[in-house]
Symmetry: C2
């Protein structure tokens, strides 16, 4: 097949293949798709003719006839960013395995663009649609009564009947806290993103609850700020000053993002605190660039975005095949331990 691909100028059609093989187009179609009842010799002859001409079936013509395009649309509501990529990779992976192609649409948080893209996807008769985007909170459904199934990935639809796949962030926070408890820390602080941000709230709440379940309190009230290293540094300063004031100093910080954690790490380091000796540190996102460049490397919570993308794609494929998939799924997180929480004797 590949051999001839390189010589193609005007791609061959199935009737040319049929002519070369000395059969009708219908027969050629059956031969190439393994349908109908044909002699083995005939199938072979058609196959050879197709190879010789470098024949590649026209997907549009096939789709027109069969009603399936083996294409799905992927709409990223915010611009394609750090979070969308693993999602896309996961989805592309699962879809590619099912011979399904992906039409990429970057709606950039603009609902006009979104509706425009929705229209073109519908016009292209995609078999289904995946909607992704940064997760601040549930978003309104992209449309009602669409002729194709829709799955929301990472972001969730505000209609609980829609199919959404999201990370279980509370689970992630619980894992982080339990890990800190397991290595013997008791005076734990939480530094995270802005209070109005859904993820920050959910993670903070789960953090407090998990501590409470162990008869503990946060060492200081949750510190809310930006999702940035600068805020991490600043927050560390606050922790250092208050921590020395009353009782024992904090012995662990769970951060709402790796960037915050890295900022905290730097500030603690510069203040002469050892990590994890004096203070253990856990981040969130497991963003390679951050966790690996931190000193020491950061223990972090991984939301498995790629898995979310893959799951969303698999659900979409199931829906396309008629299986019911309504409802929301929250996928567990994974804690990736690194040096920032390593116990001494280990």
């Amino acid at each position: 097949m590949g051999a001839v691909l390189s010589n193609v100028v005007r791609p061959a059609t199935i009737s040319e293949v049929a002519a070369l093989a000395g059969v009708s187009t219908g027969t050629a179609s059956k031969a190439l798709n393994g349908r109908g009842s044909l002699r083995a010799e005939t199938r072979l002859r058609v196959q050879q003719a197709a190879d010789q001409l470098g024949f590649i079936a026209n997907a549009a013509a096939r789709g027109l006839q069969t009603g399936r395009t083996y294409t799905v649309g992927m709409i990223t509501t915010d611009s394609i960013g750090r979070f969308s990529i693993p999602l896309m990779i996961g989805a592309e992976d699962a879809l590619g395995a099912g011979q399904v192609s992906v039409l990429l649409c970057d709606a950039r948080d603009d609902s006009i663009r979104e509706q425009y893209y929705l229209r073109t996807l519908l016009s292209r008769k995609v078999d289904g649609i995946i909607v992704t985007g940064r997760r601040t909170q549930a978003r309104p459904p992209i449309a009602a009564g669409l002729p194709v199934p829709v799955v929301y990935a990472f972001i969730s639809s505000s209609n609980p009947a829609d199919c959404s796949v999201v990370p279980d962030e509370a689970d992630g926070a619980r894992r982080a806290v339990r890990h800190l408890l397991a290595i013997g820390r008791r005076r734990i602080a939480h530094v995270t993103g802005p209070e109005h941000h859904h993820s920050a709230r959910v993670r903070a709440a789960a953090t407090a609850e998990t501590l409470a379940a162990h008869d503990l309190d946060l060492a200081t009230p949750t510190l809310h700020g930006e999702w940035s290293e600068a805020w991490g540094r600043q927050a560390a300063g606050i922790l250092l000053s208050t921590g020395t004031g009353l009782g024992a100093p904090i012995d662990a910080v769970f951060c709402g993002s790796d960037q915050i954690a890295r900022g905290v790490a730097e500030a603690l380091r510069e203040a002469g605190r050892s990590i994890p000796g004096d203070v253990a540190l856990v981040g969130f996102d497991n963003w390679d660039v951050m966790v690996e460049a931190s000193r020491p490397q950061l223990t972090s919570v991984d939301m498995d975005l790629e898995g979310i993308g893959r799951t969303a794609a698999e659900l979409l494929l199931a829906a396309i095949n008629g299986e019911p998939i309504a409802g929301q799924r929250a996928l567990p997180c994974r804690l990736v331990p690194r040096a920032s929480t390593e116990v001494a004797g280990h």
Copy 2:
């Protein structure tokens, strides 16, 4: 349009629109596409019928007839990563403006997958193909004699007749060096990635040449290592120890990446050197996460990947329209000055 979109179950066809408007399908087609000669009243009637039914033309059927699909394929040879994203955004931007959709293919550095994707793109009758990927060196052409135009973005084809759009990395290095010279630095070091990496070599060569053009030498031989912060820290150590040995210490470091630069910044800082007071620092990539989190914020060279993606897409559109576009284009870089090279009195 949107109003009815939400009620669609089985999408309407043009013949249903035509029936509702009381015209033939041919006339309906002309009315909706502004062709033929029709009374204004007829056009309006058809348009209203289409709106009422929520009609969206079937792209497959149209493509079958017209031979154009308004779709291009985008193959990322390495996995979708940090560099691909701005490229994709730029390309998607330029293409979307031309009403062209993007089929995303992640070939993951696997030539089998690449050929498979090429086949499906051909089968889908894309109007053109963009090939992107991390740039280590020129890559072999994806195929010869394809029935559609191909543009390589960021990565370049080893066949000089193919159309490639790449950053002019030498230009970037020159800008960095000239900037350092302009703020009065003379003892400049260069810390960059592995010697076998094309980008590292090109940037290093341009750095040396630019200094030579000003009758200067590198303060120390170029330091090659990994593209990592850790290497940056290590290299800074080397610079500090050699720099104090002979003559005046270095007063600037130009780094082959922002990550390296950040590592250098940290190490210098910890060694008590002030940036830019004692040593000015320039990075490469202008990667927001790195340049903004560095202390001080990093001056960096921006390759304008988004512009490269956009240019590639525009060239592809031109090629699709029959204009000749062969050959390689190197786009200039841009220097983004920040605190790490700020002159005192400024």
